[in-house]
């Protein structure tokens, strides 16, 4: 050591070099970022443009077809927020639908029934190999816009209407009976909790696998139903949609743009999730399944108690990427006019000319959304892995 440090100069010292290289790399990166930024500023300056966020406080002036409460006289920032909420809405519902679809199809692909297996395989191969934009446009123009016109709406059960402008359902309006029914629900919940604990304790004593909510669930449902019929005034009154003038008014409606986007995203991502689920299940060692069979468990018990619990930790990491893809792919909404964050951002850029700040806002929104999703999924992954060990 002593010999080394006296004879070799500092630029031969590994410790110094390591630090030096990293510092140089950092300088390089910063320099590059600085050059790009300066270049952008000088370009903007040539065009007489400035970067600022003041425009966010001025009146937007354009209307938005759907989303949370918003008026054209609200600010650009509020308009942007409507877009963020719409993106979150379609992504979250899409993730739930795609997961359910993917889980069913993934298991179906391993079915011993030839028909089920083949149908599932055809679904997966078709939908994951066609560009998503094409699929969304297909659902929108070839399926939803081909539904009957408003005046010839399909009517189900008298109060549900389906036409090319969307699906209209009666909206439940809470009445004064809701409070009394709430008490019944609370009682039901307490009873269910007690039964759940008792059942769990019993199963543990018997050392048997089983469904812990077997007593709790029916008990809760019975009490809830009983309350529904015993309450003098029904807790909810239905507010049916009515055709008035050009469109249906009242009730809950799903717009065709939202529906097409949701179907497109769920079906497309569902195909990928099915493959993730299938590979996860197949990755569980064959001996586990055989051992479970030897102990005398039936097919559904094998899947529920032995295979899936071991498959989930394998499934979760690739599943996370699929969730992130779905959220980002929702920006294709712009093709069919669903007001998501990208589409509203686009309008804002045009109306104000502030492309760079708005682009930055859109990017930051997606970044926060994606980082939150992956943080949640990582936490879930750690949690299930800790339980297993």
């Amino acid at each position: 050591m002593a010999l080394n440090s006296t004879t070799s100069p500092f630029w031969r010292d590994v410790r110094v070099l390591r630090v030096l290289l990293q510092v140089l790399f950092l300088i390089g990166v910063l320099l590059l970022a600085g050059i790009l930024y300066a270049n952008m500023l000088s370009g903007l300056n040539d065009l007489g443009l400035t970067l600022n966020l003041d425009f966010l406080q001025s009146e937007a002036g354009f209307d938005i077809s759907e989303g949370i409460e918003y008026e054209p006289s609200d600010t650009y920032l509020q308009a942007f927020w409507v877009g963020v909420v719409n993106t979150l809405k379609v992504s979250l519902i899409g993730i739930v639908c795609a997961t359910i679809l993917g889980l069913i199809v993934g298991i179906a692909r391993l079915s011993s029934n030839w028909l089920i297996r083949t149908v599932a395989a055809i679904y997966v191969e078709c939908f994951r190999n066609i560009p998503l934009l094409l699929q969304i446009l297909f659902w929108y123009t070839a399926v939803i816009l081909q539904l009957p016109r408003v005046r010839d709406s399909i009517s189900l059960f008298g109060d549900v209407f389906i036409n090319q402008r969307g699906v209209y359902l009666p909206a439940p309006e809470p009445t004064s009976g809701l409070r009394i029914w709430g008490v019944y629900l609370l009682v039901g919940l307490i009873v269910a909790a007690i039964l759940y604990v008792l059942r769990a304790r019993q199963l543990r004593q018997l050392e048997l696998p089983g469904f812990r909510a077997k007593w709790a669930l029916p008990a809760f449902l019975i009490i809830a139903l009983l309350g529904w019929f015993l309450t003098p005034e029904k807790p909810f009154r239905l507010d049916p949609p009515v055709l008035r003038g050009f469109n249906f008014v009242g009730g809950i409606s799903l717009s065709p743009e939202f529906s097409a986007l949701l179907i497109g995203l769920s079906v497309y991502t569902g195909a990928f999730i099915a493959e993730v689920v299938r590979s996860g299940i197949q990755a569980v060692v064959k001996g586990q399944r055989e051992a479970a069979k030897a102990v005398g468990l039936n097919e559904s018990q094998i899947l529920r108690l032995v295979v899936l619990p071991q498959a989930v930790p394998i499934i979760v990491p690739p599943l996370t990427s699929q969730y992130l893809n779905l959220a980002k792919n929702s920006s294709l909404a712009i093709a069919i006019g669903f007001p998501d964050v990208f589409s509203i951002g686009n309008t804002m850029m045009l109306q104000t000319g502030q492309s760079i700040p708005v682009f930055a806002m859109i990017m930051v929104s997606y970044l926060i959304m994606s980082l939150t999703t992956s943080a949640a999924m990582n936490w879930y992954n750690r949690w299930i892995n800790r339980v297993r060990r």
């Binding site: 050059i35 065009l47 209307d63 816009l145 050009f246 008014v249 045009l350 104000t352 000319g353 492309s355």
Partner: protein, 338 residues
């Protein structure tokens, strides 16, 4: 190791040399076009009459002809122009980044655009106004009757804002259906997704022609806005804006004085202004940085304003309206060629 460090510092040095290269856009658009030998013009792409690619793959339309006119003025050849079809949201970024030299795409001149999006406007070539188209069978004649209707509009257009303003002023509630692509907009109108479609009247007339049954649709009397449409150049390049503006004035001037594509080569006159215009005397071409006969080239290539209009818009059934020379009570007024 020293070699490696040397390489790194060389790399940093080269990058720092690139700073001025990246940052400078000193070359004006006029020089850029001349050096390239070709004009790049942003147009609509799917608007019959204005900017449209026909079955044989040729660009045709009113805006397209103005692109050819500028190419003729600058390069002496109306075919030396490349057309780039742009969607509404793409047009200003394309102009800002220099992807296109001039934007001629039904673009309305507004204060915000003039000051905030890095654009400079040349004189309007078409004075338009916003209208509404709907199926005849509805029997609607006024905007007040549109309460509760689904109204289709293109995203990020002045029409989107005018629609909202007008309906707010009238106190009429409506459902906006906003599309980025005009093809999707008219398709969904035809399918019945929206009851009404709103846009510049010229666009409504042009698109009505290509609907399945044009007779079944009416355009309401009401005009809710002023839409002066014209060429746009990048902000800050005054020289280039001058060239584009005067190419437009040249078509106005030619119509005012009865100079046409057919008679320009034989046009005999003692009028000194027309002689200057045709490049026979004076140096107006030089002042613009163009050749002596630039205006002659423009008219020889596309004709005067009236000819451009009749070639592209009259077949669609668009009346001249206010788009006539001022001498006939219209709004077209060429500045003096002096």
């Amino acid at each position: 190791m020293r070699k490696f460090l040397f390489r790194i510092s060389a790399f940093v040095f080269v990058i720092s040399l690139m700073i001025p290269v990246l940052a400078s856009g000193d070359e004006g658009v006029l020089e850029r076009v001349k050096n390239r030998g070709r004009l790049i013009c942003g147009v609509h792409g799917s608007l019959p009459g204005f900017g449209f690619l026909n079955e044989s793959g040729e660009w045709i339309g009113f805006d397209v002809d103005y692109g050819r006119a500028i190419a003729a003025a600058v390069l002496g050849d109306p075919s030396k122009v490349e057309f780039v079809p742009l969607k509404a949201p793409e047009r200003f970024p394309a102009l800002q980044t220099g992807e296109i030299d001039v934007l001629i795409r039904n673009t309305t001149w507004t204060l915000t655009r003039d000051t905030q999006v890095g654009a400079d406007f040349a004189p309007p070539t078409f004075y338009d106004g916003q209208g509404f188209m709907l199926p005849k069978e509805l029997g609607i004649t006024s905007l007040k009757e549109l309460a509760g209707a689904s109204i289709g509009v293109t995203a990020g257009s002045t029409t989107e804002l005018n629609l909202t303003d007008t309906m707010r002023a009238l106190g009429v509630d409506f459902n906006p259906v906003v599309f980025e692509e005009i093809d999707t907009l008219y398709n969904s109108y035809e399918q019945g997704r929206c009851d009404v479609v709103t846009s510049d009247k010229s666009q409504l007339v042009a698109r009505r022609q290509v609907l399945k049954d044009p007779e079944a649709h009416v355009i309401l009397e009401a005009t809710i806005s002023k839409e002066p449409l014209g060429p746009v150049t990048v902000h800050g390049d005054n020289k280039w804006n001058d060239v584009v503006s005067w190419a437009v004035y040249a078509t106005f001037f030619a119509e005012e004085h009865g100079i046409t594509q057919a008679n320009i080569n034989t046009f005999e006159t003692q009028n000194p202004e027309i002689q200057r215009f045709l490049g026979k005397t004076g140096d107006i071409g030089e002042k613009l940085g163009l050749s002596k006969d630039w205006a002659h080239q423009v008219v020889a290539a596309v004709g005067n304003y009236g000819e451009i209009f009749e070639r592209n818009l009259t077949p669609l059934g668009l009346p001249r309206g206010v788009n006539k020379p001022w001498t006939q009570g219209g709004l077209l007024y060429a500045m003096p060629f002096r």
